[in-house]
């Protein structure tokens, strides 16, 4: 028996499974169909809805700590009702302020923009767009969601601990995070944070292995790598980044747990706490930073790449034009993915890193500007002279480009180790990363949800609510984060509870209040989106045509509400790349249409 037989047989098995599953569709119980489902489309919806719940919690946390930052002298009695002893008399407890900031970061970075974003769209789009009945291993795929779910449960429970959840910042630097005596948030809350992240890493590993394997092994006939939509390319590189960087975080998590409970000294050395000299010696807290940021920086691109892929696809479809520079887009994905592993120490310029070493990281960091700029110009040139349809998805995709430019340009400032001496840990950094990967990737996610909602649920979302959602969110995003650049340039540090003690920051009191008000409005607008989302699942306008956007890709060749197995008959064969828009006088040519005799090559 050789390998070819096995792989051949596997594809046959998948074929059969698809047919069988479709025929016996009605026999599935509620539990196997909606709870422990192995259908990638259901799993994707599970990721999406879990992500939305987390986004709601994480967003609410930011509103609460923005209240403190905007109104440091006021009390809000309702906070005491909500948070109990964490807000005595309606004044946010400083310890809990740190817990909120930490949890806001952890939740948004990992649970919303990693699991919620690539979990949703990789699961949904990979089999549909490469032409497969399901993921390579539907079972591991299901397991991946349930590991994420259990990670969520552990993290959620930690919010209700008497000593509070982890509160040493989302980067959990030791020694603060390693010593329970250092602060209440470093007690059980930290252990649960580490346990939750352990489960989360397993979830990401299972998911990533599945995504990579499905894209490489399960493409339909004719779907060569260069005929893949850019969404698939972006999700492919995202999965590669996850599979190679999360294991290093696992090492850091394991070593930190040992330091906390087994008396080892990996990250601890020469510490006096509360007058007591600790026996630990020889460890290095900077080692932890290296391990953490070896994940942490690729993580930024794990968040950004899927949004870029979605944006590329949505912009091309709604400009009715081929994406500009397809191969350059693929190449820049590759360049970003490769460079992202070589720049982690730019988070550590002022941590005691050798300045000579820092210069290399400056160079590599600034190099990322090249592929990023290639992408931006390609999006702009795709839009250029297109017949643009301003659908809600398209608006959010254009919004992504705008935010990515605005936030990306300040990355060039921050990538310089000398400028970083002044700017590190100020609101300038907060503004930079929120624009370039936080809000921008949320925009990518919104673009994806609006664009593929008809495929996911067979209904449209309400357009009026969508437009209100878009305009308030983009205006709000700039109103919140643009002023933070000025505060940061003036040296205002991030993570502080109260700035009123500093004469030099008093002038920002009004600005902080403004930011907080806008944050509140933007948060309320997201509730509108969530209402729109859930309302439209049940009551939205029904989709009546299988290809409502006039797109070329394979997911629109399935029935309006595809069952498990996606295609009723044979999986379609692919003959062309996915961007034949406005070609030879035709609006679009689906990938499934053979290339004609007299047709121009793209």
């Amino acid at each position: 028996m050789n390998n070819e037989e096995v792989s051949h047989e596997q594809s046959l098995v998948v074929h059969d499974l698809g047919h069988a599953a479709h025929v016996h569709h009605h026999k599935q119980s509620f539990i196997t169909k909606y709870i422990f489902s192995q259908d990638h489309k259901i799993i994707s919806r599970q990721f999406l809805i879990t992500g939305i719940i987390w986004a709601l919690i994480g967003g609410l946390f930011s509103v609460i700590f923005r209240l403190q930052l905007g109104y440091p002298d006021s009390t809000f009695p309702f906070l005491q009702d909500l948070l109990g002893h964490w807000a005595p008399g309606g004044k946010l407890d400083p310890e809990f302020y740190y817990a909120l900031v930490t949890m806001h970061g952890t939740i948004l970075v990992f649970f919303v923009l990693t699991a919620g974003l690539s979990g949703t769209f990789a699961n949904f789009l990979i089999p549909l767009q490469v032409g497969a009945r399901d993921m390579a291993s539907p079972f591991l795929n299901m397991l991946s969601y349930w590991f994420f779910f259990s990670a969520s449960i552990v993290m959620f429970c930690s919010l209700f601990l008497q000593t509070g959840p982890a509160s040493g910042g989302w980067t959990i630097y030791p020694p603060l995070s390693a010593l329970g005596d250092a602060m209440s948030g470093s007690k059980t809350g930290m252990d649960m944070w580490l346990a939750s992240m352990g489960l989360f890493i397993i979830s990401q590993l299972l998911a990533g292995l599945n995504y990579i394997t499905t894209i490489l092994n399960m493409r339909t006939k004719g779907m060569s790598m260069t005929r893949l939509p850019l969404t698939i390319w972006s999700l492919f590189f995202t999965a590669v980044l996850g599979v190679l960087s999360f294991p290093v975080l696992l090492s850091a998590v394991v070593l930190l747990l040992f330091d906390r409970h087994l008396g080892t000294s990996f990250f601890l050395s020469d510490i006096v706490i509360g007058g007591k000299i600790l026996p630990n010696e020889g460890g290095s807290p900077i080692l932890f930073q290296h391990l953490f940021w070896f994940l942490g920086h690729p993580e930024v691109y794990i968040i950004a790449l899927p949004a870029m892929g979605i944006t590329s696809e949505v912009i091309s479809v709604n400009s009715r034009k081929p994406i500009f520079g397809y191969m350059a887009m693929v190449g820049s994905f590759f360049a970003i993915a490769a460079l992202s592993f070589m720049v982690w120490a730019h988070h550590m310029f002022v941590t005691g890193l050798n300045p000579f070493l820092g210069s290399f990281f400056v160079l590599l960091t600034l190099l990322i500007a090249v592929p990023s700029a290639i992408k931006v110009f390609n999006w702009l040139t795709t839009l250029w002279k297109g017949s643009i349809r301003f659908t809600p998805g398209m608006l959010f995709a254009i919004g992504f480009v705008s935010l990515f430019i605005s936030g990306g340009l300040t990355g060039i400032w921050l990538g310089n180790s000398s400028l970083d001496i002044h700017l590190h840990d100020t609101y300038f950094v907060v503004a930079h990363f929120h624009l370039v990967m936080g809000v921008a990737s949320m925009f990518g996610m919104f673009a994806g949800v609006y664009h593929w909602f008809p495929k996911m649920f067979g209904r449209y979302m309400n357009n009026t609510l969508s437009y209100i959602h878009f305009w308030i969110t983009i205006a709000g995003a700039y109103c919140i984060f643009w002023p933070m650049h000025y505060e940061g340039l003036a040296g205002m540090p991030r993570r502080y509870y109260d700035f009123s003690n500093w004469e030099s920051f008093k002038m920002f009191g009004g600005l902080n209040e403004f930011i907080s008000v806008v944050a509140l409005i933007v948060f309320a607008t997201q509730l509108l989106f969530i209402f729109n989302f859930f309302y439209s699942i049940f009551k939205g306008r029904k989709v009546t045509t299988p290809n409502p956007w006039g797109a070329t890709t394979l997911e629109w060749t399935t029935p309006i509400r595809p069952g498990h197995g996606n295609w009723i008959s044979e999986i379609p064969e692919v003959y062309r790349w996915p961007y034949d828009y406005g070609k030879d006088g035709r609006d679009f040519i689906p990938q499934t249409e053979p290339v004609g005799e007299n047709e121009n090559r793209h």
């Binding site: 792989s7 292995l209 394997t213 090492s251 990996f266 391990l291």
Partner: protein, 244 residues
Amino acid sequence: METALARTKTHLWGGGRSPFNVSYGKLMMWYFLMSDSFTFGAFLISYGSIRFSLNYWVNHNYVFNEFPFTEANLPLAFVSLMTFILIFSSVTMVLAVHEGHKMNKKGVEKWLALTILGGLCFLGSQAWEWTGLITGHHKVLVDGAIQYWGTTVSHNPWGPKVLFHGEMVATPGPVAFGGYFFGITGFHGFHVFTGVIINSIMLTKTRLGHFEKRGHYEMIEKAGLYWHFVDLVWVFVFLCFYLI
């Protein structure tokens, strides 16, 4: 010739088949191993960076010189035996995979059982070695008085020796040794343990005739990939802790 080559190439990546001619399961195993090697890599690089930032490390010829049932000084003899056992279990694994290709159920059972035995021997040896280290009594000069220490994550009796009442006595060594030694060999041992469990499941499935019914023994191959990886990691761990 050239065009023929080009055609096969586009065909390979043209969709509708696996470009590497492997099943999805094997591909996943390879990528998993790549991921896992990053975890081990992170551990070993951390160990290296801390070790070389310190002025003093331990002399492994003194630390690892015990052998069961003898008081003789046999530096690195026991760990060599452990390594031999583990590598030999890789050989038996290869033979099990080979018998699987020939669809020889009895052969697979035999060699898989021996592989499991090898893994268990390794784990037992590791337990013996750890016990010896932790419960050992080594003379250490601490704050001007003699104490007797074992090697743990917080105690290292293998520091530089000083003259004390006319006798050379060790002082406390870097605690990082215990932390990294037990941390990394423990993490590796955990991998061996999971490997033994996986192999036991494979053995059970073989005995029940699952693979015979399926027509191929590919699961054994995948388990074998994992097992060889665990052995390969040991070679690096062995190198970093016992030889360098």
